[in-house]
């Protein structure tokens, strides 16, 4: 029994570790205004994994004497801290009402979970059951991944004509567009439907590689393809 549980722990840790490195959303704190902290103040390292890494590399001693900014309220060492989820919450937020935004996103997760668990119980065979993804967070990850555009059209004005020139897109911008589109699609809803429900549906659709947002991405790709003749024109 004891052995079993230890084994289990190990496996779980492995899972967790892999889950961490699969995705990498950098969350820089870029301040719009000057903070009260000078530039040489370092950003805090608040994740236990990061701290463990530091200890492993024995870089902790370097940081010992360096002044550090206090962590923001959302920068926690909680097991469920997730940079992408936090980013989505920040996108949902309006007028700085973070608590509301957080509760909306969490309700959407709850809805996803309920829908998926229901599907799971409805499924007949074990095969089908295994196919259903129950973790709302990984559904979010899949949805965002599926909505990320690969190309962008940048308007370039030459000779009075604005050409839409296709080109590659940076990772950061594609992430931004993906979340933005998801939210735009969610907000384009009936007044009687609540945000969490609609968001849950959109996420499930997108994770399934269907739905409005994926179509929007494909439309963009189509347009890029149509304009590919201009791609060579990259005037100075």
């Amino acid at each position: 029994m004891n052995f079993n549980s230890r084994f289990l722990n190990k496996k779980l840790c492995n899972y967790h570790f892999r889950n961490c490195i699969r995705w990498f959303v950098v969350q820089n704190r870029l301040y719009a205004k000057a903070t009260s902290f000078p530039d040489f103040f370092q950003n805090p390292i608040f994740r236990k994994e990061d701290q463990a890494k530091l200890i492993e590399n024995s870089e902790l001693a370097k940081l010992a004497a360096v002044p550090v900014r206090p962590p923001a309220s959302y920068e926690t060492c909680s097991v469920y801290h997730d940079p992408l989820v936090n980013k989505v919450i920040n996108h949902v937020m309006e007028m700085g009402k973070k608590q509301l935004a957080r509760s909306l996103v969490e309700k959407a997760f709850e809805n996803i979970k309920r829908i998926q668990i229901e599907r799971y119980h409805l499924a007949q065979t074990q095969e089908e059951k295994n196919k259903i993804e129950l973790n709302p967070k990984s559904i979010l990850y899949n949805a965002v991944e599926n909505c990320k555009p690969l190309l962008q059209l940048s308007p370039i004005k030459r000779g009075g004509i604005t050409y839409q020139v296709p080109g590659p897109i940076t990772e950061k911008r594609s992430l931004f567009l993906s979340i933005k589109w998801l939210l735009e699609a969610t907000n384009d809803k009936e007044r009687t439907v609540h945000f969490p429900e609609q968001f849950a549906w959109e996420l499930l659709d997108a994770a399934n590689n269907t739905g409005k947002v994926v179509k929007r991405k494909q439309d963009l790709h189509r347009q890029c393809e149509a304009n590919r003749a201009y791609a060579h024109y990259r005037w100075q």
Binding site: P168, T170, Q218
Partner: protein
């Protein structure tokens, strides 16, 4: 009839709005020699990158009705190409910013040029 003589006189200190008379005399505002530095205005370079990969990807997209899932290889190659380009640009930008001179490099950033100019100032 009164003749407005002022119309025909050249601009001077008293009245700067008078029309100029040809030939306009040359005024030497700055010394006639090359500057010691160059500005960085012309450094913004936009080049079309990964054209090949993009074309391959478009071809695949067209074949599969824009289903990304079936063109994973093409997409990956396009993205690695762009990422490599980005990394390269980042490196060169960083070197340029520091002004590190790479021997044999033909295209120099303004910082690198300025470094060279400072070392070998233009002769008077």
């Amino acid at each position: 009839m009164r003749f407005n003589t002022t119309l025909f006189s050249a601009a001077n200190q008293a009245n700067s709005r008078r029309p100029q008379k040809d030939p306009v005399p040359f005024q030497m505002l700055l010394p006639l020699e090359l500057g010691k530095t160059v500005s960085g205005k012309g450094d913004k370079l936009k080049e079309a990158v990964c054209m090949q990969e993009m074309a391959v990807m478009f071809a695949c997209f067209k074949k599969t009705e824009f289903n990304q899932q079936e063109c994973l290889n093409e997409v990956a190659s396009f993205q690695t190409c762009f990422n490599n380009y980005n990394d390269k640009m980042k490196l060169s930008r960083e070197q340029g910013r520091k002004g590190i001179l790479v021997p044999g490099e033909k295209t120099l950033t303004h910082r690198q040029l300025n470094k060279l100019l400072r070392r070998f100032p233009p002769k008077k």
